[in-house]
């Protein structure tokens, strides 16, 4: 057992029921999410504890569905989008490490089938929805009956942003202050905003060369500007939550865009410089800003990749599609699948 897994296991020993009864099967769906107030920087890398709170919008029907059954062989079997993963596949190893947190000492070979509804062309990572769906499916299959707080914490172990993928709509992931991170969990922000739209403008859909995890580590270790980030991000998150509750798009958009650019600025100042944004990303931003000067109420946010995500309301969908013909528009509140 690695040191990281040991640290998690100690916490789980306290929070999971001592035994469980395998239900035979469990299925769960979890949506992908886009942070409007970003998570960047871990205060504990083993537990994925963040330096600051974050707030996201879930992407409705864009997400992951995972079904867990007992394996028909003595081995674990993992299928991802209908393809069986090799035992040595890095994705398979991460999934099994996560499953082992729940399964612990019991020897129950599982068949884990995940399908992802996020279009590959969107270039969105599926780790958030993937680990959230896996966590929920494990809870159901193993009959654990975990609280949402513990589920969110478990999902966080797989991928930080998975802590926010257990709900539809807006979700806030509280930074927390406990060293074991038991208070660093997500909770829904109860606001319905049916007119809200998200567009994904694909810039570069190739897998990223530098993972978010490595990017955070490098930024924390070398960026002289990072020291100012955690406090600012915490303030932003509070103000962004207020803008969400007020359903004030202009306020929310301006804050979310500034927050994202500040995050990328901390990376740009890392040594050597880390730039997920490419010249084409800047081209999208330049075009957006020109349109906004003309009155379009649309705002950008960017994660650890080159793609640009836009925030606007339904009445501007046509303008966005004209401006960015290759964009995909998502209506987060439109008939989201059952969780």
């Amino acid at each position: 057992m690695t040191l990281d897994a040991g640290k998690k296991a100690d916490i789980l020993e306290r929070l999971l029921p001592s035994g469980f009864s395998f239900k035979g099967s469990g299925t769960a769906y979890a949506p992908s999410n886009i942070a409007l107030s970003k998570y960047w920087g871990k205060r504990d890398a083993a537990l994925n504890l963040p330096c600051n709170s974050s707030l996201s919008i879930s992407l409705g029907a864009w997400g992951s569905k995972t079904t867990i059954d007992q394996s028909s062989t003595s081995q674990d079997e993992i299928f991802f989008n209908q393809v069986k993963l090799e035992d040595t596949d890095p994705q398979a190893l991460k999934i099994l490490a996560h499953v082992d947190l729940f399964r612990r000492t019991q020897n129950i070979p599982l068949r884990i089938v995940t399908s992802n509804s996020i279009p590959t062309a969107a270039g969105l990572a599926s780790s958030a929805s993937g680990f959230a769906a896996l966590t929920l499916a494990l809870d159901r299959a193993l009959g654990l009956g975990l609280s949402t707080n513990v589920l969110s914490m478990m999902a966080r172990f797989g991928s930080g942003s998975a802590a926010r993928s257990l709900w539809h709509g807006f979700v806030k992931w509280e930074r927390g202050i406990a060293p074991d991170g038991t208070d660093s969990v997500g909770h829904p922000v109860d606001v319905s905003w049916p007119e809200l739209r998200i567009a994904i403008v694909p810039v570069d859909t190739a897998p990223k060369k530098f993972s978010s995890r490595d990017g955070m580590t490098h930024t924390l270790a070398t960026s002289p500007l990072f020291q100012a980030w955690p406090d600012q991000a915490e303030n932003d998150c509070t103000e962004i939550e207020a803008a969400v509750r007020a359903r004030d798009l202009r306020k929310l958009g301006a804050l979310a865009e500034s927050n994202a650019l500040a995050m990328h600025a901390t990376m740009m100042a890392a040594r050597p410089s880390l730039n997920y944004l490419t010249p084409d990303s800047w081209q999208v931003l330049t075009r957006l800003w020109a349109a906004r000067e003309e009155g379009l109420a649309a705002y950008a946010t960017m994660d650890a990749g080159a793609n640009v995500k836009l925030l606007f309301e339904a009445r501007d969908s046509d303008s966005i599609q004209t401006l960015f013909p290759n964009a995909t528009v998502i209506a987060p509140f439109d008939n989201p699948p059952e969780l």
Copy 2:
């Protein structure tokens, strides 16, 4: 007299000789300069006092030459690159405000003729060399015999970076600690590095929309990341001076590039975001970084504009010209004009 001019006048009252005898004429040349360790942020906007020290390389034959004579009329006359400026021209007003700091209560109409040897296509601002040459020419024409410290301080009143344009080669502008800024002056760093080359890669040579002065004010007032800049910039300046003294291109280049990117990161995080770098600037950087991965020892620095400046040694001039055919290569130590 404006408040700013009053603040300067008080200082000059102490530092300039009480009277002077007009010599009839004075001529001076001053080079443009590029900061390898950037000046960004004023701790006193009226006196152009910086938040941090900076270090530059002068551009040899690229600069400004100014000749001052008594005007043949009762009015001041200002010529810039053979064109007579209107009395209401903003550039003329700035020049006359600077001249008045020296001329004070005496009524001596002057003819001020400046020519600029910086190719317009390079898109380099000429305010640093312009105010340095004007300051030196005034000292000579008015027979003031000012010390280099006072000359550098006077040049700074016209444009912060002009404090560094009074010498060829490397120049350090000390931040200083005195409230009146009398210790915030430039001095040469005595290092000869004949193989050093600077290339200007022009990206956008149109006049910038947002002056450096306004950019600094906006960044200080709104960028949450700026708080980390002054200390980092001061450290960078010390390390960059050491790399210059060691004539260590790789060390100097990496530091100068990181320092410039950190400066731009503080602006990118301003609210709203301030981006002098355009998608084309990022394209140049991306191409440079790819070539560096292949072994090319060239490094970038960028100021408050879209152009990219490269730092390398003579042996790589051909590679640079192949990579960036529209670049202009400068040899800073090659037969610089007399100052």
